[in-house]
Symmetry: C2
Subunit: 134 residues, 2 copies
Amino acid sequence: MKQGLLTDRQKEVLRFRKQGLTQQQIADIIHTSKANVCTIEKAAYENIEKAKETLEFLYTLDATHLCTIRSGTDLFDAIGEIYAEAEKIHIKVRYDSIGLINRLKESNPERFKGRFVRDDVEVYITEEGDLCFG
Amino acid sequence: MKQGLLTDRQKEVLRFRKQGLTQQQIADIIHTSKANVCTIEKAAYENIEKAKETLEFLYTLDATHLCTIRSGTDLFDAIGEIYAEAEKIHIKVRYDSIGLINRLKESNPERFKGRFVRDDVEVYITEEGDLCFG
DNA sequence: GCATGGTTAAATGAAATGGTTTAAGTTTTA
DNA sequence: TAAAACTTAAACCATTTCATTTAACCATGC
């Protein structure tokens, strides 16, 4: 059965990985080679990427591009920029500073290092003031 | 090119639809039958569903199930329940009431009708107090 | 050096997906 | 009610995807 993008095999491997098993250990359990476990895991992450990109497209469908937060930017400067840009187009952002930082961080936790942005972040906003990040 | 789950064809159709065109109008523009536009559009929504399910799986991988908000529940009762359940397992929710309602609503806007929940919503929480909805 | 953990490339077969047509159905609405 | 809008089913073919194997390749740590 395949509910979602991930195959049963891929979910199985991800779960074992989450438990801290090595690829070799997993290979032994599911009776295949570690190379295969590696490729299955890799395919899983590619599928997850695709899923994220798909939903991002959805956002851009009814949201307009607000601004780009450049890599290296301080988080607090970033939210300042977001508020400023939103004001320019007369949309009130639906989040306070704290909420905004939380939204940013949870959109893709790996993208932040402490107070700094690691990669460029595209910011979209809906007419209702909801934010999406790409 | 296919960046994400949706094919170029599918994105094209979704964009035209967002502009309010009928399937027949789109069919004329892209030189095919309206039946085909229908199936393309349908496939697009199936892919979007898959994308959502995929990310939901990711959440459940490192989040634990907190509670189920039953269809018909008042939103304000729902957030009360969420706070109560989180307290039981000694996790502090990372959102205030307003932020929590926003998170809920944007997780799947069609699922809410005014102050009420239309379909059951599964609530997951991470150790850090982040919430996900399934 | 050599065991361990991880990654990569090439090849293969089975399964699925995507776009298409044709043709038969609903539902909506003017 | 009749036209317009939308949905569904069946069949076709080309392309892609998945899991798999084998065999090689980089690190790291002892």
